[in-house]
């Protein structure tokens, strides 16, 4: 883990921002479960915040780090129904987003690329469900149907979540709030230092 997530390449403030993105994933997931009964809606926020973390923090594994922290946080706070297996819910979409971001430069400025990456990321829910059901020994056809039911709405919600990324990133860039290291940017500094 140490070699994969070389956290020394991240400044402390970037790591903390990633931590906050993870908090929002977990919080919104837990909070909205109580109010909405629509399956897969949590992918909306999961994909959005994973993409936001990757777009704001210039580090190859930003999304994976966010997913990992979110998974551990869900375990620590007892917010997932899967126990330690909840890591599987956050890591695969995060890894897909990191790979997508590596392959497509400036992806976060284009709706099409965001939707494409989000669709691939959110559809990992299908592989997850299928894998767990397969281990259990579920009948392949039933497994396929079960995994499909669980993942189709998730994918749609994930794609919807990605639509928020280009306008937010556009605004952050246009106002000079984000740069290569957002915390060293005069805008964030001004907010931070003079705030009372």
């Amino acid at each position: 883990m140490k070699s994969l997530f070389n956290l020394n390449r991240l400044s402390l403030k970037e790591s903390l921002f990633i931590g906050f993105c993870a908090v929002f994933i977990v919080l919104l997931r837990a909070g909205l479960r109580l109010h909405l009964g629509i399956p897969g809606h949590s992918m909306l926020f999961t994909v959005f915040f994973l993409m936001l973390a990757r777009a704001c923090v210039p580090y190859r594994f930003s999304a994976s780090f966010t997913g990992l922290i979110a998974g551990i946080m869900a375990v620590v706070l007892g917010l997932g129904k899967g126990g330690p297996l909840i890591l599987l819910k956050f890591l695969p979409p995060a890894i897909v987003i990191d790979i997508g971001a590596m392959l497509i430069p400036a992806w976060h400025n284009r709706y099409l690329f965001c939707i494409l990456i989000a669709a691939l990321a959110a559809s990992t829910k299908f592989i997850n469900t299928y894998f767990v059901d397969y281990l259990i020994g579920m009948d392949p056809t039933v497994n396929l149907q079960h995994a499909f039911i669980g993942s189709v709405s998730g994918t749609l919600f994930g794609m919807a979540g990605s639509l928020f990324v280009p306008p937010i990133m556009g605004k952050l860039n246009a106002h000079g709030i984000i740069g290569r290291h957002f915390g060293d940017n005069p805008e964030v500094r001004r907010h931070g230092e003079e705030k009372t």
Partner: protein, 229 residues
């Protein structure tokens, strides 16, 4: 967040918390609990016939009673189990007919539940401090710090977002729950709430990092730990 809960999330506390709860001497450490629960979870993937599943079910119940530290709330888990049984048995019945479908469907649903239930036992019976303490042993210290700070500052971030939300409502933003029925108003959520909240998160991350560095965080790769409370 309630102060009592907040105490439980402390990164530094975690490494110092001597356990503190009554009956601690009977309890396994969080690490062993985690391993036992994972073993139970993996066993669910192997047990595919009624008898082993029943044994595993009883084993889960025994472990639950052993680790129990107070009243348990299993309402949500029971709801999940019922939903799982309904969906999976339903799919099996559709595929194989009622006669030959309902038993394997029911067993698979139970099996799936038993794969996840040990995780619930672990989380419901282990204080967060002990979980964080265990995690600190297996992850880089900076990651543990980030994790702990993110949880610790969660109430502050929620407060900040609430303030932004309330202020924007009085500026006319259409972000009240009743406004969101109309999708045309969703862009107000994006511009008036989401965008300033993200900027605020960046500011908070900057402030917390500066405060930690001002007290020499990161000066040495390892830290000592104060044993007090």
């Amino acid at each position: 967040m309630h102060p009592a809960n907040r105490k439980a999330f402390s990164p530094v506390m975690a490494s110092r918390d001597p356990g503190g709860m009554p009956g601690r001497e009977r309890q396994l450490s969080a690490g062993y609990k985690m391993m036992l629960c994972m073993a139970l979870s993996i066993s669910a993937f192997v047990a595919r016939t009624p008898l082993p599943l029943l044994v595993l079910f009883l084993l889960n119940a025994v472990v639950l009673l052993w680790f129990r530290r107070g009243p348990l709330t299993l309402k949500r888990e029971i709801r999940v189990l019922c939903w799982q049984i309904f969906i999976i048995t339903g799919l099996y019945v559709l595929r194989f007919g009622f006669q030959s479908g309902w038993v394997p469907g029911f067993l698979t649903a139970i099996q799936l539940f038993l794969a996840f239930f040990p995780g619930v036992i672990f989380l419901q019976t282990t204080p967060q401090t002990q979980i964080v303490m265990t995690l600190e042993k297996i992850m880089p210290s900076r990651m543990a710090f980030v994790l702990a700070m993110s949880i610790q500052f969660m109430p502050l971030m929620i407060r900040e977002i609430r303030t932004i939300y309330e202020a924007q409502v009085f500026r006319g933003a259409r972000i009240l729950p009743s406004d969101l029925i109309n999708p045309k108003n969703w862009k107000d959520v994006l511009h008036c709430l989401l965008f300033p909240s993200i900027v605020q998160c960046m500011v908070a991350a900057h402030d917390i990092a500066t405060a930690a560095k001002a007290r020499d965080f990161g000066k040495f790769s390892k830290r000592t730990h104060w044993p007090g409370g």
